[in-house]
Symmetry: C2
Subunit: 239 residues, 2 copies
DNA sequence: AAAGAGTTCAAACGTTTGTTTGAAACTAGC
DNA sequence: GCTAGTTTCAAACAAACGTTTGAACTCTTT
């Protein structure tokens, strides 16, 4: 059942098996991004990868497992980078608490690095990730929830120190908004046409994007806590 | 081909045709929300609606047109309400420019009203809408882009007056972030588990949610304009 | 060169998909 | 009570889906 090979060939490092696997992963990443999970067939993926249809099931077991493999390949290292970066920032700050901007940058910079690494097709991946966040499929939601759990918890405590005046639940909400704006923005690209008057055409799109998103979110995070019933009041006024 | 009946029966208003249509729309709304467009089959919808499978194609033509009908039914009135409300706010303010909060409330209140109208199943719809925003299908993106175009343009000019210091393109980005956070938040519900420590269980979830989102976004909108290269600098520092 | 594990391949599996069909059922107007 | 138009229904359509199969093939190891 399990095609995982034993540790044998140490010297020659037979990459032929990995090239097929990698070709499938690359093609799947691009096509899942373009059409979503449900609308992308294994036949489309294997044809684009130039491999046999059965190779997908042979190497990954099922379509769902393939999708998870696509996500894990880049998500895992990125989230580890985020936590490492946050830790190094905290170490560098000594006893001082980090600013919101600094914590936010620990979230953004690894994403930015991934987006820039064109050799690994990172730009496609961030969009795929953004879409996966909004996907209704339970196995995707559960998988992401599990993948992000540690990182989110780590950043929540960091933000809690930076924003001591903020109630715990309010902070949870705002973290939710931050993740939402981030993933939605990454997923967007063509939704932008709906709003922006011009389409930026440079390759360093993502740096520009995050450099505008970061201050926006930092300001939102640092806003004073919600006065209870403010929207309720407005709602009454508008009848 | 076109099953659209001529305007004939004026008095009795035969609702039997509309009940089938409405039953399909209601079931489709709920199932599309739960499983997404691709993963929801017409058989699932028609079975849930208690109608014959062929009725979906008879009344709506195709699955895509049914989906658009589901969206239009509520989206159209909501966006019109948003624009009307904004206009009435501007009229009430006389010559004075509106605050960001006030403009934001003109966007939120109609959504809130829709969410509250339980008889029309509005809560389900907002989630469906949020997910549709992130859907890769071109026909969905094109449809939404067209549906939102007028409203977005209207609110952009309103925000431009409220934030005269902000460059035009920066405002476009921020509007994008606002729409993103809003739609993502509405789509979320269970993504919340990833972040929040507790799950609010009250029925007026949405009012609570928007009352926390609004100040967050208002603060983001009112943040000073991006200093060029701020993230770039951070990126360099972090290596 | 023989053996054997790992991989690729064409072909087929049984389901499920959106859509179409033509007859039956229903609802008016005359 | 017949007729015409609208709606419902069971049945079938071709196409596409994820997955499985068993034989061919490619290697390294002995």
């Amino acid at each position: 059942m399990s095609p995982t090979p034993q540790v044998k060939r140490l010297q020659p490092v037979d990459v032929s098996a990995q090239t097929t696997k990698t070709r499938i992963l690359d093609a799947a990443e691009e096509l899942f991004m373009e059409h979503g999970f449900e609308a992308t067939s294994l036949r489309l993926i294997t044809t684009a990868a130039g491999v046999n249809l059965a190779a997908a099931n042979y190497h990954f077991g099922s379509k769902e497992e393939l999708f998870q493999a696509v996500l894990t390949r880049r998500l895992d290292p990125m989230n580890r980078q985020r936590m490492d970066l946050l830790e190094s920032f905290e170490a560098a700050a000594g006893g001082h608490t980090l600013s919101c901007d600094k914590i936010l940058s620990a979230m953004f910079i690894p994403a930015l690095k991934l987006a820039r690494d064109k050799e690994t097709g990172g730009q496609n991946f961030l969009r795929l990730l953004g879409r996966a966040y909004a996907d209704p499929a339970p196995f995707i939601r559960d998988f992401l929830s599990q993948q992000y759990h540690e990182m989110i918890a780590r950043f929540r405590t960091a933000f809690a120190k930076a924003l001591p005046h903020l109630p715990k639940d309010e902070l949870s909400w705002r973290l939710h908004f931050v993740m939402g704006a981030l993933s939605y923005t990454l997923a967007g690209s063509d939704v932008l046409k709906m709003i922006a008057q011009y389409q930026p055409d440079e390759a360093d799109n993502d740096e520009l994007l995050l450099s505008r998103l970061a201050p926006f979110l930092a300001a939102g995070l640092m806003a004073p806590a919600t006065t209870s019933g403010s929207v309720h009041q407005m709602f009454q006024e508008a009848g």
